[in-house]
Amino acid sequence: MNIPFFMMAIPAIMAVVAYLVGRWAWVQAVVAASTAAVMGLLALQAPLDQAVAFAGRDLRFVSAWVVLGRSFTFVNDDRPALAFIYLAAMIFFAGAGAVRSGRAPRAFLPMGLATLSLLTATIFVQPFLFAALFIEMIAACAVVMLADDDHRNTRGAMRLLVFVTLSVPFILLAGWQLEGLATSPDDPNLLTRATILLDIGLLILLAIVPFHSWIPTVSDESSPFTAAFVFTVVQAAVMFFMLKFFNQYEWLRDNQAEFLLLRWGGAVMIAAGGATAFAQRRFGRLMGYAVMIDIGAALMAVGLATPDGLRATLAILALRGLALAVWGLGLSWLRLENNSTDFDDLAGRAWQMPFAAMAVIVGGLSLIGFPLTAGFAGRWALYRQLAADEVAFALVLLLASASVTLAYARGLAALFRRPETPEDEPQPSDGPREGQVTIVFLIIGAAAILILGLFPQVLLPAVTRAAEAFQVLTQ
């Protein structure tokens, strides 16, 4: 069996199945989540280029699929990135069943599965520069997920498509320069041009300021749950793409200016997010700025070029997904009644939807990196690293987190605000309420965040194993 082909084809086929069973929300969610789970197991356990006995037959898992001179190859170092993507997708797909009645976009699960197929291709494709083309196709799928009948403002989704499209030529041209380097290794111009092109391409792809504008716009205009999926799974794929560059090219990781650029890129991202977050009055937009700060923190951690920094990056990536999933699920329910995430429109809603409000509180605090929540583990590891050499960057991150916390505190105050007159008190029969299954999901998500906040060492083995795939980066 050709394992790359199988792992790319199965999610695509299941996307069609999920579309066909779209009428039954839970069946669709189970199909999508179980597909992601099976793919995750395959990513972790599939024996590469070995014959194994399966159902009484000898089965050989071939690790490469060659198409028109290019190949899709599954190597052992791909396992952590694949496992992360599938696990995160499984959480989101399972949660989509709980959002569904809260009007998540109808196309979310079919397009999510199609995205999974393309994400797998980004990991397998060789030369891996061509992953940029698949990331472009992922952006097109994300557009379909982000805008729909209930979320008609298309500005954010369009910006995402435009920025990702604009990044592709730079990355492909960088690849061409690198091919030239193989035949003319003594030409320094090729290396300089490749570095500049690659930097510009990654700058746009990673949504670093000034190419960040789609993040707050998408989080404000689209379904919070779908936006959370894009910020988690798609941005993680982009981050792994960047790490792969550093892993593969010695000249890139030997260039200390590149790591300095990453640190400064992260700092600018954090500063821009922090400078605007405190003035926000909508949970959706606030989520966007919090994500910007989190992406900046992850970039800063990579820029440290230390094993601990790399582990902090992976922890931040993993915990962002959990926080965003819980926050997105809670916010999808809170905004259900008037399709708004404005603090004033959600005033007093915590008394009506206590579990959704709890999810927004716990998920938001984790995204900020608040102590005793899961997000704190990654941030604390980063603060400790920065405190040694880059105190100014640590202060910028701290101030930016405080800025989000300030805006968030105003939002929470609004959520718990009591009506001024007893007549305005919401009645139990007023408006929609979370369903039982949703409540179970919200409680599990919030509990996971709190447990990981109390016992972050649970994550350590997985993060360390994932970091081993990129260990050459820090040598």
């Binding site: 001179g69 083309l133 298309t154």
Partner: protein
């Protein structure tokens, strides 16, 4: 009926400077006119001119130029159908606005300026593109620059999609000369399709009537 290589041979007198200028003019028309019919027509002409230029870039593989034209025309069909769906005027609505936009002088001057800059850039030795003729370099710079200018002038997903495709066509014209592998050309075509589909989807969503209006 002539085969595609024979057709290209018959049109070879158009394959150099006229095609490059034609591609620039059609990109300029996309910027100047708002009417979707004219825009789709201009884009279709642009793909034909680009196809003729591909026959210069890849003289050994004329069928690739043919595939590029076919893919481009299919993208135009996507845009055409989408525009028809998204822009269908309600029965009682007033007559549609003029095809000439209010900022016409600005658009004409901006498009002309960018086209001139692209032309000058294609002549500069510091910016010369290896492996391609000056005509292809002119089309590459021109399509990229005019596509980016158009993106800055519109918020309409359909038009933005057309400008993205215009910029990508410019890039692909050059990239085909440095990476002529079939797999890459196929992937780039798939990417163009994906961009066009994304833009068309957003145009449809944007054009949906409000629920309150729909009753």
């Amino acid at each position: 009926m002539p085969t595609f290589p024979e057709l290209l041979a018959q049109l070879s007198f158009l394959a150099a400077t006229p095609s490059a200028i034609g591609a620039l003019v059609t990109a300029g028309l996309l910027i100047v006119f708002l009417d979707w019919r004219l825009s789709v027509l201009a884009l279709a002409c642009q793909f034909i001119f680009a196809g003729l230029l591909y026959s210069q870039v890849l003289p050994d593989a004329p069928q690739v130029a043919g595939v590029k034209v076919v893919v481009g025309l299919l993208i135009c069909v996507q845009f055409f159908v989408t525009a028809q769906q998204a822009r269908r005027p309600p029965a009682e609505s007033p007559p549609s606005r003029s095809i000439v936009p209010t900022g016409l002088p600005f658009r004409v001057i901006a498009a002309a300026m960018v086209a001139v800059i692209a032309w000058q850039a294609s002549l500069l030795p510091e910016l010369s593109l290896p492996n391609v003729s000056s005509d292809v370099a002119l089309a590459t710079f021109g399509l990229l620059a005019l596509g980016l200018l158009g993106l800055g002038l519109t918020e309409d997903p359909l038009k933005a999609g057309m400008f993205l495709i215009t910029a990508l066509t410019g890039f692909e014209l050059y990239y085909a000369s440095v990476e002529p592998a079939l797999a890459v050309i196929g992937l780039l075509a798939a990417m163009d399709f994906a961009v066009a589909l994304g833009a068309c989807y957003l145009a449809i969503i944007r054009g949906l009537p409000d629920r309150s209006e729909a009753g």
